[in-house]
Symmetry: C2
Subunit: 191 residues, 2 copies
């Protein structure tokens, strides 16, 4: 998606060999207009798949997921990274390891909001090693829900996430695919 690639080139900050900071428009400051464009594009790609629910993980997946849900006309559910005091029982859960932060989180979704009649679109901000998406897929399995596909805002194509998801038969649609970071600049996959 050219609009997103241009924004990454303009406002993304490359740190070291594998970290891209997009705090300017996605992970800290948020550009609502761009986010709506991303949501519309996910909805366009996955239209006709009879999706009943968009699933994501807090925090930065939520906004692209909500605009996708708005465009598709379906609710969004975000997995929580820690259990809150008001919600302890009746949860699906999975363990997710974050390489970036070197922490393991339990992600949870209330059984009330996901079930065997759901057809789910998983949305997340980044795809690197596929841990968060795998956690959501595990939760869908527990719920007996079908997965229609995976929508990713920024994919680091030089890491193993896409391969892991495709090996499980997933249709992965990424709006920006990064081939490499070279001398502080971003190179996209040529498609």
């Amino acid at each position: 998606m050219k609009l997103l690639e241009d924004r990454i080139l303009r406002d993304g900050v490359v740190l070291g060999d594998d970290v891209l900071k997009v705090d300017n428009f996605l992970n800290h400051q948020i550009d609502p207009v761009l986010m709506q464009e991303l949501g519309n594009e996910f909805a366009r790609y996955f239209a006709g798949k009879n999706i009943t629910k968009v699933l994501t993980v807090e925090t930065s997946g939520i906004v692209p997921a909500v605009f996708t849900g708005l465009a598709l006309g379906v609710p969004v559910v975000f997995a929580r990274k820690q259990k809150s005091l008001t919600m302890k029982d009746n949860l699906y859960s999975a363990t997710v390891y974050s390489f970036t932060k070197d922490v393991t989180n339990e992600i949870t979704i209330s059984k009330q909001y996901l079930g065997k009649d759901d057809k789910v679109l998983i949305i997340d901000d980044f795809l690197a090693n596929g841990q968060a998406t795998n956690g959501l897929m595990e939760i869908c399995k527990q719920a007996g829900a079908e997965i229609a596909g995976v929508g990713i805002v920024i994919e680091k194509s030089f890491q193993k996430g896409r391969k892991i998801l495709e090996e499980q038969g997933m249709d992965v649609y990424s709006l920006a695919r990064i081939q490499a970071f070279s001398e502080g600049t971003v190179q996209f996959v040529q498609e």
Copy 2:
């Protein structure tokens, strides 16, 4: 806002004397259509205030804030509740105690995204004791930013938050104001 009050009556769950769970449409599952209506209403109320930025705290304030920013045509910045590895320096920060969760969080905003030329609208999902909003106000003070007002989705008017904010001269606009929880049902402030 009648649309919101009706939804609270239909899908809100009262726990004990002072907890309202709105996991059905705001805090876990999200209704994107309702959220856009809330954002439009905040934007309508605060239109003409020359707002340059919408400020909120992760997680559940983000979606109402983003729809408000979309309607006002300005960016949104969400304070993080813990420091991430990629962002440690150049932060404004404040301490926020959550009565609901009995935890104290450091909330932070990068100095890059808030400054003395900003006129800020603070948006949050709940106003109870005003701790989160006070933390954001403290951060605005550090940044030298002006505060145009505070928009709250659900106010527990029987707690002290509104009083604390009004004593500091804040214009507080809440879309639903709860007077009391009585025998498991919600009573709204009659205006």
